[in-house]
Amino acid sequence: MGSAIIYGAISLVICVAYFLAVDHFLMDSQGLDFWYLFRK
């Protein structure tokens, strides 16, 4: 059970970082700001 939590946490960190990178860089490549709402 303990290892499952650790694996889950590691996976979550990797996946969240990956999808945020996808969102940020693919918007950036179109000349758009992904963080538009948060910067406003």
Binding site: I10, S11, Y18, V22, L26, Y36
Partner: protein, 637 residues
């Protein structure tokens, strides 16, 4: 020795002949291509014909207007000879049937190439033989359909010539060299197809088999080029280039071919053809499965249906993205055209299209869930299917929600406006992109479950792998839905870009989770064999549904693409002055599409029947102790 060497020599000569046939049209067309370049010199030498200068409507380059202007037609027997019937409907029918068969005979040889290649590289001899037989069965069906395609092509040209002579005369004057190349390519395609088919038995081993496989590559290159050339005509009609504003050809044939929409159309059509071909072959297999009398036959056709469905769906998954690119290019070319398509006159047809796309994915998922039933050990996934159904239904309902609804004044008043106060929020692109991406991601998840259905991973990192896959899919769903919601809170010019990371999220699941799953399942423990043929009858109806929905959707999208020109034969260049230059009602269009679908299926059943007359029996070499009798494909799937 002499006989084998003779065979090899003959095969190499045949392959060289095919490549020669492929190159022949290009060689023949070279002088034609040079016409444009030589034209100024010709003017100088002769000094008699004076050409005006014209400006390309799309590329904005200048050139000598060597072609005649687009004819200004008038409604009458000269420009629009007719029977006592709507000429457009006759042309619609001829065009659609030719396109259905054309798509089928272009897609099936690609399947043959893939399946034959799988047979060549598979180490299991029984499987190799089975793949080879399957590829042969496919090409046999394709061969009969090929003749019908050519006949329908002839009917289409005669329909153009007799009912729309002015328009067809103009189009052929612009595309003269392209049409000749097309005709020669067709000769090359026919020659290659016949050598490929009739050489099958004689070239089944060793180097000869590789030469035979190479022939399938040449065949498909020719077929794809044929389609690209035909696409250049419709591309020109929608987004003309290479002519001036009067429609005069400016001498550069490449500009005429390479219009703004040519490449998106090419990509969209090749994917569409493949998905359609897969659907038709899967439906054929389903029909044969349902009609089978023995377990052996049922096992064979169950397997055939699965392979065809998997190949078709592999191309169906990227299809919406190719469609999105096409629409984006339409908007970039003429914004008004895009608005007519998706926000105006034809918008309701897009709602129908969304419904059909949803049905395609629902049918695919349903088939995969049913297919889990033929695996021992796959029961563990059954209890989770209801959650996938829920996710799919949510995505589907959002995807098909219209922005506005056609209403009576009383209904309008009762609802308080054109948009429903709650559901109307889902009728925007931001929500729809989320909906379709959720649907596709769920389909990918169903495929992953199917591929690991009867297996238990034995790799040391399987626990982490399973958790990582689960988290990855969960995060993908969250990201897609988050981006859909986020779109409501940011301006339209920023929002439009969100579709790109949404698509990338879905494709990430496809391109990362499939290989990860394959790596995890390497050397996996099998809980039981796949019992080919032991699948519910319902699943086969899902395959038939898949094929029918695809046929209907192809007809619908063809109509939409063609209708967007409104009252133009060639957009903004040549006006359609026939009495039928108006957009049909949605109901009429739907009936016409249904008629085309019905006709295609009745005629293709005839083709299947013809193909079955001389069909060799598939060599099903059963493994001992495996119910259903058929050997499993390599790796189980």
């Amino acid at each position: 020795m002499g006989r084998v060497a003779g065979k090899k020599l003959f095969s190499i000569m045949a392959l060289a002949a095919m490549i020669g046939l492929l190159l022949l049209p290009i060689a023949v067309s070279l002088p034609s291509l040079a016409i444009g370049a030589d034209a100024p010199d010709a003017v100088k030498k002769e000094g008699e014909v004076k050409y005006e200068k014209g400006r390309d409507v799309y590329y904005k380059t200048e050139g000598l207007a060597i072609g005649a202007p687009a004819p200004k037609t008038v409604d009458g027997p000269k420009d629009y000879p007719r029977y006592n019937f709507e000429s457009r409907v006759l042309l619609w029918f001829a065009n659609q049937q030719h396109l259905y068969y054309g798509s089928f005979v272009l897609a099936v040889p690609i399947f043959c190439m893939v399946i034959e290649f799988m047979g060549v590289v598979t180490k299991d001899k029984a499987m190799a033989k089975k793949y080879d037989q399957l590829a042969y069965d496919f090409i046999k069906i394709s061969l009969t359909a090929y003749s019908l395609t050519a006949i329908l092509g002839g009917i289409l040209i005669f329909t153009f010539l007799t009912l729309y002579p002015a328009f067809f005369g103009y189009l052929s004057s612009i595309f003269r060299p392209v049409m000749h190349i097309y005709a020669l390519m067709f000769v090359a395609e026919s020659g290659t197809l016949y050598i490929y088919y009739y050489g099958w038995d004689k070239m089944k081993e060793g180097l000869l088999k590789y030469i035979h496989l190479s022939m399938s590559v040449v065949l498909n290159v020719i077929g794809t080029l044929l389609m690209f050339l035909a696409n250049s005509w419709i591309g020109f009609m929608m987004s003309p280039a290479g002519v001036d504003e009067q429609g005069r050809f400016l001498g550069n044939i490449w500009h005429v071919i390479h219009t703004a929409l040519w490449n998106p159309l090419n990509v969209h059509r090749i994917l569409g053809n493949m998905a359609f071909g897969g659907g038709v072959v899967a439906a054929y297999a389903a029909y044969k499965f349902l009609a089978s009398k023995t377990d052996e036959d049922r096992a064979h056709y169950d397997w055939m249906g699965y392979i065809a469905m998997a190949l078709g769906v592999a191309f169906l998954i990227p299809l919406p993205f190719a469609g999105y690119w096409l629409m984006r290019e339409v908007y970039a070319y003429r914004q008004q055209m895009g608005i007519t398509l998706m926000g105006g006159l034809l918008a309701w047809l897009f709602i129908i299209q969304a419904t059909m796309i949803g049905i395609l994915f629902l049918s695919t998922n349903y088939y995969l869930w049913q297919a889990l039933g033929r695996m021992r050990g796959a029961e563990k996934y059954q209890r989770y299917i209801k959650y996938l159904v829920f996710i799919l239904c949510c995505g589907y309902l959002v995807f098909i929600t219209p922005h506005t609804i056609v209403m009576t004044p009383a209904e309008l008043k009762a609802m308080g406006g054109q948009q429903h106060p709650v559901l109307g929020n889902y009728g925007v692109m931001s929500a729809k992109n989320g909906g379709i991406n959720v649907i596709i991601t769920t389909t990918i998840l169903s495929f992953v479950w199917y591929m690991r259905g009867n297996k238990v991973s034995t790799v040391s990192w399987s626990k982490f792998g399973n958790i990582f896959m689960g988290v990855f899919f969960a995060c993908a769903y969250v990201n897609i839905i988050w981006l859909a919601i986020y779109g409501y809170y940011i301006p339209a010019n920023v929002r439009v870009g969100l579709s790109v990371p949404q698509v990338a999220t879905t494709l990430s699941c496809l391109f990362f989770m499939f290989p990860l799953n394959a790596a995890m399942m390497k050397g996996a423990k099998q809980m039981g064999a796949i019992e080919w043929g032991k699948i519910s009858v319902r699943s086969q109806y899902a395959l038939i549904m898949l094929a029918t929905a695809f046929t209907w959707m192809m007809g619908l999208m063809g109509y939409i693409r063609s209708s967007v020109r409104l009252f133009w034969h060639v957009n903004e260049i040549m006006r359609d002055n026939s009495p039928w230059a108006y957009t049909h009602t949605v109901g009429f269009a739907a009936n016409m599409i249904s008629f085309n679908v019905l006709f295609f299926w009745v005629s293709i059943l005839f083709v299947f029947w013809l193909g079955s007359l001389g069909m060799k029996k598939a060599p099903v070499e059963a493994k001992a102790g495996v119910p259903g009798g058929a050997p499993q494909p390599a790796g189980g799937h």
